[in-house]
Symmetry: C2
Subunit: 312 residues, 2 copies
């Protein structure tokens, strides 16, 4: 073990310039080891502009309706200081986001990391409007498993955050490399210590992102973000899980798998039908035969599959 | 789903010509989907000759001693028709096999498939002498987990079989692609049906191998082999598991991890010290910091770590 190498590797988020190199074995290993990977330049300028417009429309609608439907606010929305910070089920709410969910480069990365039976689970937009947002406390994501490190320490349940705005060091997600392998005690102790003050980044590295980049994080990786005011930062999150894990260990029921596979296939088809993506090779979704559950389902009429309707 | 594509993909074992292409994303996905991958040309002719000589020495010794120490026989070894078929802990018994366990191409493949915290678990030579060996009944390998398909259906516990002799269609392992994702009921029903007659290959594909090739199989993939007489076929098996799985789910105790990491490191060092491997870049074993257990251990004096001393 070479300490110099260690410092170099762990002092920053590993990166993949996806359109130049593709996903290389060293990117896969870095993600599996460190629990995080920055994918640079995933979106073309045109696709980024479309996603930004869709994001703007959704946030404008939240402000104008002050609705809590699928929308999380910092305070009760009728209060003057309230600001929206998260909208759920965005694939259902905006065609450019559905088309983004069919992105072949993103899905091929996920096939490598999650496996051929990948299914999309959560989809949301998390954002900070110029009205501000509080810190995101240090945490692991939801939907954890018993023996989580054994099941997915190496990273098979993955959140892909697609950035619509810049995330500089003072307004970005920070994460602790390799915390995806920590046991519950070390995780809890560290999170409690860091969360005891307003913003402590001891042991963490910043995930500085540019619009059109994607940050992949293992849901077990400890991460957080500082409070910020006066800056807009919108991120579209797509989470992916292996269908065989969902099937045996949840957190959703078995019926969820086919519904989400149908949606994934629809997003790929919608994208392929748009002439501007004519040069792309569409993602070829080919799970194992025993995990092709979409045929059991009637054609879905919505891309919104409420989690609470499908908990075990 | 295109039936033509399906037939093409599933009617044979996927292959990787490792020295020409390296392990490509499509090889990774094929292995994860089908539960098996043939790695062609892993050994150079020189390394193959060394391994063959080591295999011969071990088998000759079994015949001359008729010992049952670490050796499995078809019948009690004093019986005239008895033949040896398996020798355990071969990394401890022959330096060329220890050096083989440090093979950088093999270990880099395993790092991609098992993850950065890979540890070696079982090591053995399984063989058919010209005296013959009975069929290997259809089975999954040992050391399975509760919810095995969720834990390792996609292939994180892997047996690498390195072939010292040819394995033609009438004397090779057959496997059922994608059976790594089957539930217990389907697995048991199918294995029982196939094992009801002497040799039934319904739904299976042959893993035809040449000396110096390696066959990787997910331990959940249903496989078997026909009885054979009059042909020699020797295979060195190295099994690998992720340390984080071993740590939380077994089957070995935690103390096993550091011992086997030490042995892996020793094998890599032994190989690097041999001038004939001077052109190789040694494997750089770099598990996550919380899974570097070798430093907790006294330097090991043996490469033989009996499983039964470390069961949970």
């Amino acid at each position: 073990m070479n300490p110099v190498t260690e410092v170099r590797t762990d002092s920053r988020v590993p990166e993949c310039d996806i359109r130049r190199t593709g996903l290389l074995p060293e990117h896969v290993t870095a993600f599996r080891r460190q629990g995080v990977l920055a994918v640079r330049g995933l979106l073309t300028p045109e696709e980024l502009a479309d996603a930004q417009q869709a994001g703007k429309t959704l946030i404008d609608r939240a402000w104008s309706t002050r609705s809590m439907d699928d929308t999380i606010w910092t305070l009760e929305p009728h209060l003057p200081d309230a600001a929206p910070v998260r909208i759920e089920y965005v694939v259902d709410k905006a065609r450019p986001i559905a088309v983004l969910a069919g992105h072949p480069l993103l899905l091929r990365i996920m096939e490598q990391l999650v496996g051929p039976n990948l299914i999309p689970t959560w989809d949301s937009m998390v954002f900070k409007t110029p009205a501000g947002a509080p810190r995101l406390a240090w945490h692991r994501d939801a939907g954890l498993y018993t023996d989580a490190v054994g099941v997915t320490g190496a990273g098979r349940v993955i959140d892909a955050g697609i950035y619509l705005d810049p995330a500089p060091e003072d307004n970005c997600v920070w994460c602790i490399p390799e915390s995806n392998y920590w046991d519950d005690e070390r995780l809890t102790t560290t999170a409690d210590r860091l969360n005891a003050s307003e913003w402590d980044t001891t042991g963490a590295v910043p995930a500085v992102m540019r619009p059109g980049d994607a940050l992949l994080h293992n849901i077990l990786t400890l991460h957080g973000a500082p409070a910020v005011v006066g800056k807009q930062r919108r991120v579209i999150y797509f989470e992916y899980r292996p269908a065989e894990v969902e099937w045996q260990l949840g957190p959703h029921t078995e019926s969820y798998i086919g519904l989400k596979q149908q949606i994934l296939r629809s997003c790929v088809r919608m994208r392929a039908a748009e002439s501007r993506f004519g040069d792309e090779e569409p993602f070829d979704y080919r799970p194992a035969e025993s995990f092709r559950h979409w045929a059991d389902q009637p054609e879905s009429t919505t891309f919104r599959v409420p989690h609470e309707d499908h908990w075990r």
